[in-house]
């Protein structure tokens, strides 16, 4: 953990709230300090209410920032109480936001990108695509979700000049299959192992399968995981995932909030 990495907490005004689908919202907040320094893959902790319920802030990936206008955008799906309350915030209201948190993707020496995202794992991949010089890379995008509604930002992705493949569990958009199926097809087709990397973000079962495929096809991978968090800054020790390379007397864990959320291919037991 890099202690000198700057961190900010402040009350942020909601500038714009857009309902993307029945359960999905995109919200833009004023947070100039963060907008200047955040990187793709990082997240923020949002405290949705000053009450005791929900007590803890909730982690959300950064979908995008606008450094000039000093704004931060997140995209979220209503799961439970906190996301429900957040969805009802009106423009002009404020929430406490802490960030930027966590690490970022590493693109050194990489030319070929397999981007694999599912559900609420889509935002970090979107943010990444906003920050890189797309023509410099050979990009294949794989987006999956339970249903069309959860395939967030599909229009924006459709407008990008990259190779893409969409899939849904119910076939309501793209192919009716798990996203890891077209991924494996692509991996089978071959790639330059030294310059390729899978970047993936999504639910644990999806990441586990991506990990398996990356190992099988011997391609590097960076996997972004989600766990239950309390503090987001390494002080509660709550957000752990088991690491490979356990000694025989004790398991080892990593703190997702400070050492993650992004891990290289073989680090985690998923």
């Amino acid at each position: 953990m890099n202690v000198s990495h700057p961190l900010f907490q402040r009350s942020c005004t909601l500038l714009k709230s857009t309902q993307l689908s029945s359960k999905t919202y995109q919200q833009e907040y004023v947070f100039p300090e963060l907008a200047k320094i955040s990187k793709p893959g990082q997240f923020v902790q949002i405290r949705v209410s000053a009450e005791y319920s929900p007590l803890l802030p909730r982690p959300f990936s950064i979908l995008n920032v606008n450094a000039n206008q000093g704004t931060l955008t997140v995209l979220f799906k209503i799961f439970g109480e906190a996301t429900e309350i957040l969805s009802r915030k009106l423009e002009g209201e404020t929430v406490e936001i802490l960030g930027p948190l966590g690490n970022t993707f590493e693109l050194n020496r990489i030319k070929k990108l397999f981007l694999v995202a599912g559900g609420v794992g889509i935002p970090p991949i979107y943010y990444l695509l906003q920050t890189i010089d797309m023509p410099r890379y050979d990009i294949s995008l794989f987006l999956g979700a339970a249903t069309k509604d959860d395939l967030f930002l599909r229009e924006e992705f459709n407008n990008m000049d990259i190779e893409k493949s969409f899939s849904t569990d119910d076939g309501s958009y793209g192919t009716k299959t798990l996203i890891t199926v077209p991924l494996e097809d692509a991996l089978k087709r071959g790639f330059s192992s030294s310059k390729a990397c899978i970047l993936s973000c999504g639910p644990m079962p999806m990441l586990a399968e991506v990990q398996r495929l990356a190992q099988k096809y011997k391609v590097e991978a960076q996997l972004s995981v989600e766990t239950i968090m309390a503090c987001g800054i390494g002080i509660c020790q709550g957000c752990v995932v088991p690491l490979h390379g356990n000694t025989k007397d004790a398991k080892k864990y990593t703190l997702v909030c400070v050492d993650g959320p992004i891990y290289s291919r073989d680090e985690l037991i998923l």
Partner: protein, 303 residues
């Protein structure tokens, strides 16, 4: 300006607002957000003889006005603490209290001996909620054992020895008395209350360890009652802990008889809570014409 300092045995704290063990890491994490020297003191995560990876996930679950945790005393161990964490803590002007735990009296003494070799430590908090492996039960529920740990650790260090009591006990007064009789300089209370939560759709406990410790505003009334009972049982200073989220909560504990307080779970809710509360406490003392915060302590009117 009112005097904010308080005395815990021979230790003088600049103010009564401390960060609680296990909710403030090793100090450096929150230092990214504000100058932690503003605090009255920092209590470190519990340090044990060996490094501990802690319990399997999930380690956290939210409950009404509280959280459950089953961290399992995950910590870097005494060696790494001394080499990696103590240098930063030593550089601070605020008081540093190292929280330690062991599975035997020997473990406690070993830890104190190691720490006594180093500068920058102002006191020790003894986490008595750790199970004594031989007897199988927490040290903190056996007055004889709790007393003995205090007595032995007192022999090894001239610094403040502060046992931290568990609330999972029939009569807190008995343990409070036992540790006072054996020379404790002060008492911290309370640690978390045993609790559990179930994910109804999977039919599994929400915590990997099945049961965990409940903390946060939900437990504040329980903590306050224990401070009240301990206050009646002993004369040494008490450090109140449990669900503190605002200056009003701090005042409840001080009035009931605590000399200082620790903020735990609320560091997760709002990492700046301790310094915001401290500012409000200063304002309260000014507005209500207190010369010193010490005047508040134990000012409860019960008839």
């Amino acid at each position: 300006m009112s005097d904010l300092s308080v005395n815990i045995g021979d230790l003088r704290l600049a103010n009564p607002i401390l960060a609680a063990s296990g909710t403030f890491g090793y100090g450096s994490e929150v230092a990214r957000l504000y100058d932690v020297n503003i605090l009255g003191g920092i209590v470190t995560k519990t340090i044990t003889r060996a490094q501990r990876p802690g319990n399997p996930p999930d380690r956290l679950a939210e409950t009404p006005s509280g959280i459950l945790n089953s961290i399992g005393l995950a910590n870097v161990g005494i060696d790494n603490f001394i080499s990696d964490k103590l240098p930063f803590l030593r550089s601070l002007s605020t008081s540093v209290i190292v929280n330690i735990a062991g599975e035997s009296i020997d473990d406690f003494l070993f830890l104190i001996d190691r720490l006594e070799e180093h500068q920058g430590i102002d006191g020790y908090e003894l986490n008595l909620s750790c199970p004594n492996v031989a007897g199988g039960l927490d040290f903190g529920i056996d007055p004889k054992l709790a007393g003995k740990i205090v007595k032995e650790t007192k022999k090894r260090s001239k610094k403040c020895i502060i046992p931290k009591l568990t609330p999972n006990i029939t009569d807190i007064a008995v343990i409070a008395k036992a540790v006072e009789d054996n020379g404790a300089d002060a008492i911290s209370l309370i640690n978390t209350i045993v609790g559990m939560s179930v994910n109804v759709s999977t039919k599994r406990p929400k915590l990997g360890e099945i049961m965990g410790g409940l903390s946060g505003p939900a437990i504040r009334p329980v903590a306050l009652a224990m401070v009240y009972k301990a206050r009646k049982a002993v004369k040494i200073p008490l450090i109140g802990i449990g669900g503190i989220s605002s200056v009003n909560d701090v005042l409840e504990f001080l009035i009931t008889g605590a000399s200082a307080v620790q903020i735990g779970t609320f560091n997760f809710v709002n990492p700046k809570a301790p310094i915001e509360i401290l500012k409000e406490l200063e304002q309260y003392l000014e507005t209500n014409n207190f010369t010193s915060v010490k005047e508040l302590s134990g000012s409860l009117i019960t008839r």
